[in-house]
């Protein structure tokens, strides 16, 4: 399913870099999963990453908030380099929101408590203030009436929107999405994509791993195609979809656009 809404990206990326990745390598044991990634993401830039399964897309964005450790190269997020310095890691994680394929809401907490957990304990915001912010973002993802429920009582699409709101409550500078809609039933994909499009329109810096090509066309500034741990091709969405240069890209596009 593709998102047909055609919108011009409103905010153009400014020149200063938000994320800088230089010659990034990662191994899982013997497996060379990322083989020299170079990528600069500017402030307010929106990037879509696609590629076949196992190509290292998740690994790449998980390195950006250090859910995975890289072994070579450098990652600099908003001027702070990711090293083993735990304080830096926590600082970067608080600045970088992450949305997972399987939502990963906390099932033992209500929706509202899911949203206020980070602000209260990491940002040290008073509970009342945090709850106001949480309600604001729940309104934004059109789900404020579910605040007192538990995650298990919501549909997949609703859960994913809560997960997005949870990240937004931390007031992040960057949002990472790892296949946010691929665990959802078709009729719920749109409600999640709509929220993401809205977020894009407000100028959030986003890196989205997705195969929703409609979303890529309407929102992304750049589309990256990854294969075997490398960025094989990188282009504007228009060029990427109409004029893929590499054989691998063509093959891949023919498969997902079938």
């Amino acid at each position: 399913m593709t998102n047909k809404t055609k919108q011009e990206p409103t905010a153009q990326p400014s020149s200063n870099a938000m994320i800088e990745i230089i010659d990034l390598h990662k191994w899982y044991g013997e497996l060379h999963v990322l083989q020299g990634i170079n990528l600069t993401v500017k402030r307010q830039e929106r990037i879509v990453i696609c590629g076949p399964s196992g190509s290292g897309k998740s690994t790449l964005i998980r390195c950006i908030n250090r859910l995975e450790e890289h072994q070579r190269g450098r990652i600099i997020v908003d001027g702070v380099e990711l090293t083993n310095n735990v304080k830096n890691i926590e600082k970067i994680r608080a600045e970088v929101g992450m949305v997972f394929q399987h939502f990963n809401l906390f099932p033992h907490l209500t929706i509202l408590d899911n949203l206020t957990l980070g602000p209260i304990w990491v940002r040290k915001i008073p509970r009342k203030k945090a709850e106001e912010t949480a309600m604001y973002y729940l309104e934004k993802v059109h789900i404020a009436d579910q605040a007192k429920k538990y995650p298990g009582q919501l549909s997949g699409g609703q859960q994913q929107r809560v997960a997005i709101a949870r990240s937004l409550c931390m007031n992040p500078k960057i949002m990472l999405f790892d296949e946010p809609t691929s665990a959802l039933d078709p009729e719920m994909i749109k409600e999640v994509l709509d929220v993401m499009v809205e977020l894009a329109r407000e100028g959030m810096t986003m890196i989205v791993v997705t195969h929703e090509m409609g979303f890529a066309k309407s929102v992304a500034h750049r589309v990256l195609f990854m294969d075997y741990g490398r960025i094989v091709e990188e282009n504007t969405p228009e060029e990427f979809f109409s004029n893929p240069r590499h054989e691998r890209t063509k093959l891949f596009l023919s498969q997902i656009l079938r």
Binding site: A94, Y150, G152
Partner: protein, 367 residues
């Protein structure tokens, strides 16, 4: 989506009524088929053979009056007299007779505190202070020596207060220690991980009795001349160390049941290790393992009776010593039934409470 309202197409029907009332239930559950009917009849027959004679023995023909050992010998039924005559010794052991109101109040206070703490709405910070005050009052009552209370050596403590002391504090101290050990065993730091593994496996490799022996006989040999550590305390520590190892393994199982995604979600919000564990992982993991944890706590509660072998006069020992008196010899069934009832009340309330807690904690959330 908007035009289609599912309600319009939905006309609810009540489920068909097939069985109603007591008769229906009996038919459906006890007599549905030959084999089942046969089993039901067989069990009814066994009940008939056991229950009326027991009632006759325990109630109709029994002797209840205190100090009626003579009447007991003649009666056909149970001699509850062994309990009623010796109840104060069984419950309080060698605690000075005139002072036994003190352990009584201490126990009532303890029950009150436990009841108060069992309510989830009372789980606030103030609970810690309430317990601190309660412990101080209980300790003062038991020990005496201030506020004009006659001092009572801990060697005189015994019976139910001792059993409660060993189990309540044994269990409440073992639980957090077990959780810490479980976290240690899953730690990324090899030093901590290995220490935890060695501790858990060593302790689980020996019976509680041998730990108690070590605490009471071997451990004092290593102490310098003149230094003694209270015997009750040593037994207490042995019980704590023992129970903690078992709790650690159960909790580890619970931790393994939490998906990696939960850790990642917590970490990606910027929560550090301690907060991730405290706010996200442990609340879920500990809830999953409530049933096996309670099994361990229940068996630990009963195992406190093993302190008999290091000559602590717990409930078991006081009962035994009553039975060794020539006057009461031969009435052990009655005395042990009484003892069993006391232990049962403790165990049953634990398992009952755990089920209630489990129900409350999983309200609204399903996966």
């Amino acid at each position: 989506m908007e035009e289609y309202t599912p309600e319009a197409a939905y006309s609810p029907m009540k489920p068909p009524i097939t069985h109603t009332g007591v008769i229906g239930w009996i038919k459906k559950n006890l007599f549905n088929g030959y084999l089942n009917s046969l089993l039901t009849l067989g069990i009814l027959f066994v009940f008939y053979k056991i229950i009326p004679p027991f009632i006759r023995w325990a109630f109709l023909d029994s002797v209840w009056c205190p100090d009626c050992a003579g009447a007991c010998r003649k009666a056909a039924g149970a001699c509850w007299s062994v309990v009623t005559s010796n109840i104060r010794f069984i419950i309080f052991g060698f605690y000075p007779y005139s002072q036994q109101w003190r352990p009584l109040i201490a126990m009532l206070l303890l029950f009150g505190l436990i009841y108060y703490s069992s309510k989830r709405e009372n789980w606030r910070k103030s609970l810690i202070y309430i317990w601190a005050i309660g412990l101080f009052v209980m300790g003062t009552l038991m020990k005496g020596g201030i506020f004009g209370l006659v001092p009572v050596e801990s060697t005189k403590w015994g019976g139910l207060p001792l059993t409660l002391l060993l189990s309540v504090f044994g269990l409440t101290a073992a639980y957090p220690l077990g959780v810490i050990l479980a976290l240690g065993r899953r730690s990324k730091m090899p030093g901590i991980r290995w220490l935890s593994i060695i501790y858990i496996e060593l302790i689980r490799g020996v019976p509680l009795i041998s730990l108690l022996f070590m605490a009471s006989i071997i451990f004092p040999l290593f102490l310098p001349e003149g230094v003694t550590i209270n015997k009750i305390l040593r037994a207490q520590v042995a019980i704590i160390l023992f129970t903690a190892a078992y709790i650690a393994e159960v909790v580890r199982g619970g931790l393994q049941g939490i998906s990696k995604g939960q850790y990642e979600a917590a970490e990606s919000l910027g929560l550090n290790y301690v907060l991730t564990m405290r706010l996200v992982i442990l609340p879920q993991a500990l809830k999953i393992v409530i049933p096996p944890t309670v099994s361990i706590l229940i068996s630990a509660f009963k195992d406190t009776s093993l302190v008999v072998i290091i000559a602590l006069w717990d409930l078991m020992k006081t009962t035994q010593s009553v039975l060794s008196h020539p006057k009461w010899m031969g009435f052990s069934p009655e005395a042990y039934i009484f003892l069993a009832i006391l232990y049962f009340l403790g165990c049953f309330s634990m398992s009952n409470y755990s089920r209630k807690l489990e129900r409350e904690l999983s309200q609204g959330e399903q996966r």
